[in-house]
Amino acid sequence: MRGLETSRFMRKLLILFIILMPAGQIAIAQDMVDIFGYYETQYMGTALDQEYLALYSNKLRIDMNSDVSDNISFTANFNYITYHGKTQWNILDFLPERVISDIPAEMRGFYILPFDDQNFLDNANVRFAFEHFDLTAGKQQISLGTGYVWNPVDLFNIKDVLDPTYEQPGHNAMRVDIPIGMDYTLSALYSPDDSWKASAKLARFKGRIWRFDYSFVAIEKIWRWHDYSKFDMTRYSFAELPERRRLYGVTTAGELLGLGVWAEYAKNNMEETDDFDAMVIGTDYTFDFQTYVMAEYFHNTIGKSDDSQYDINDWMRLMAGEQKTICRDQVYAYIQHPLTDFIQFGTSGIFSLTDNSLALVPTLNYSYSDNVELMAYFNVNLGADGTAYSQSQGSGGLLRARIYF
């Protein structure tokens, strides 16, 4: 009997040990790795042609950070996103009849923008901080330029004009930052593709003079844009037009006459198509009564100078994030005022100087508690049919709750 009891006791002890051992290991691991992140739930609605279309999404982002030693740190985040509601959007529904009339009926089903569930590892990189330089290897944020909405020198990201501060995906790269004295930094980045020739390369020199930060940037990258008038049935996608793009840019940010000012200029040399220039100039100011105002002007010669020139490629490349704009000249203006310590009200207006269309985006941010943020964006398009921000594209809004942990 005693032997049986001892055996039962040993079994319980073993089970307890098995249960507790991973818990202990997790506790030790948690001491070494900082785990945090957020859960975001979002509802997006659009009123279009007497119909109300809705897309709902849930996003879980789990971040990990660890200082492996004094000069080595590791970071990564895992993202899981689910979409519900209208998860297939036909872009042609938002375009003017003049543009879609040339598209054969049998091709019209290809212009679908799908919202498929996603899970991916992002910003997973290791950083070595040596005495004279930093080396970052892995998937990482590449944030270039000083512009708020548009960054002509950034070949890696395109911001959403309605939500320009939303985080961007990471890019696989190796990057070296070499500080030179207190005020200068030389950076080099290599983002590998299937060959050295196809890989992106970047060099940047950043410095400070008087009250201005400035940088000179040179980037070489294959621009993978598409011809959206031709569908490649063998690859079941639109025809890809890969083309080498070399960008030479300059940026600055500082202060002039009490105003915050920033500017970027980029000269784009294309291997096959026409070269083009892009430029942004911005300014901002905070009044004593805490109201913040900002304006940014964007000029891009790849954009069309008249709305009658917008074609299916312009629209699709814009929607697919292959180019920053379809208009040659645009202005973004933003005003924000704290209604209370925890509620910010703002409105942005995006005006196309090319086609005189306007989109208004009132926003409301509420810090509900230390780690809960509620956001509401509304989007009202006021332009004529066929313009960049036409009423026929519909108007809508977005509600977002984000809980940090």
Binding site: F36, Y38, S73, A129, D134, Q140, Q141, S143, T146, T165, E167, Q168, D177, P179, M182, T185, K206, R211, D213, A253, G254, E255, G258, L259, G260, V261, W262, D284, Y285, T286, F287, D288, Q290, Y292, P338, T340, D341, F342, S367, S369, D370, N371, E373, Y404, F405
Partner: protein, 253 residues
């Protein structure tokens, strides 16, 4: 011998009293400035914002200061929402950079941003890192002494110099006579020197590393009827700091 000792003590006492009475506004504010702007410091602070409805938000941040307040770096530890966000202020907050960890983006802010509320608190960036501003940006005049919070105080009126960048037109400051600590500061609006905007009350003054330090500071906003308290969780003075800490490279760490 007794007579000599007595005379000596009397002379010392008289000298102290005379020095105190003879100190003018500029001399007092210099002593205040020397006291507040230690060569280097490192601290952890807890900031609690309280609204009129009683709602609270709490932030914990670590900060480093160098060159007597000329360079400042603030990095948020809590809440999770703000964790990793950092602010670098150089040239007495004339140059400000903010770092947002989720986008890895550094944004340069112009001088006007100094007026912005730090994380929605009643402290502006200017309040946090203005270094020698009491001397450089204001003319100091001594008013009649008063008792404040049971302490004998010098009272100073600081009037903004015409070309100064500070966003307060006037300050009234109560400085303790025993250690030249400014225990109360009244801030007046930029465009109206008669409109009282904010009051800072500093209390629980302890001597740390030989330096009087307010362990608690409360900023009360008269216009919004809100307040923010700042508690010093940990502080060290004259620590060894590398100048490279106050660069964009360090901001991103």
């Amino acid at each position: 011998m007794k007579k000599v000792l007595f005379t000596g003590l009397l002379l010392m006492l008289m000298t102290t009293v005379t020095q105190g009475e003879e100190l003018n506004g500029e001399q007092i504010i210099e002593k205040v400035n020397d006291l507040l702007n230690i060569e280097t410091s490192q601290s952890v602070s807890k900031m609690t914002i309280t609204t009129t409805s009683g709602k609270q938000r709490t932030f914990v941040f670590e900060s480093w200061s160098m060159n007597s307040g000329e360079k400042n770096l603030i990095r948020y530890l809590e809440p999770r929402r703000a964790k990793g966000q950092a602010t670098l202020m150089l040239n007495h907050s004339d140059d400000i950079w903010m770092f947002f960890p989720r986008t890895q983006r550094v944004r340069k802010l112009a001088t006007h941003a100094k007026k912005q509320k730090m994380e929605g608190s009643d402290f502006s960036y200017e309040d946090m890192g203005s270094g020698d501003a009491f001397i450089d940006d204001f003319i100091s005049k001594r008013l009649e002494d008063e008792e404040m919070m049971d302490k004998e105080c010098y009272v100073l009126e600081l009037t903004r110099k015409p070309d100064a960048s500070m966003s307060y037109s006037r300050l009234i400051m109560w400085v303790t006579k025993d250690n030249f600590y400014p225990i109360v500061i009244d801030y007046y609006e930029e465009d109206d020197a008669t409109r009282h905007e904010k009051r800072l009350v500093q209390s629980d003054i302890r001597v740390i590393d030989g330096i009087p330090t307010a362990m608690k500071a409360v900023m009360m906003n008269k216009n919004d009827n809100t307040q923010t308290s700042m508690e010093m969780v940990d502080v060290k003075y004259n620590v060894e700091l590398d100048e490279n800490m106050f660069t964009e490279r360090s901001l991103k760490k």
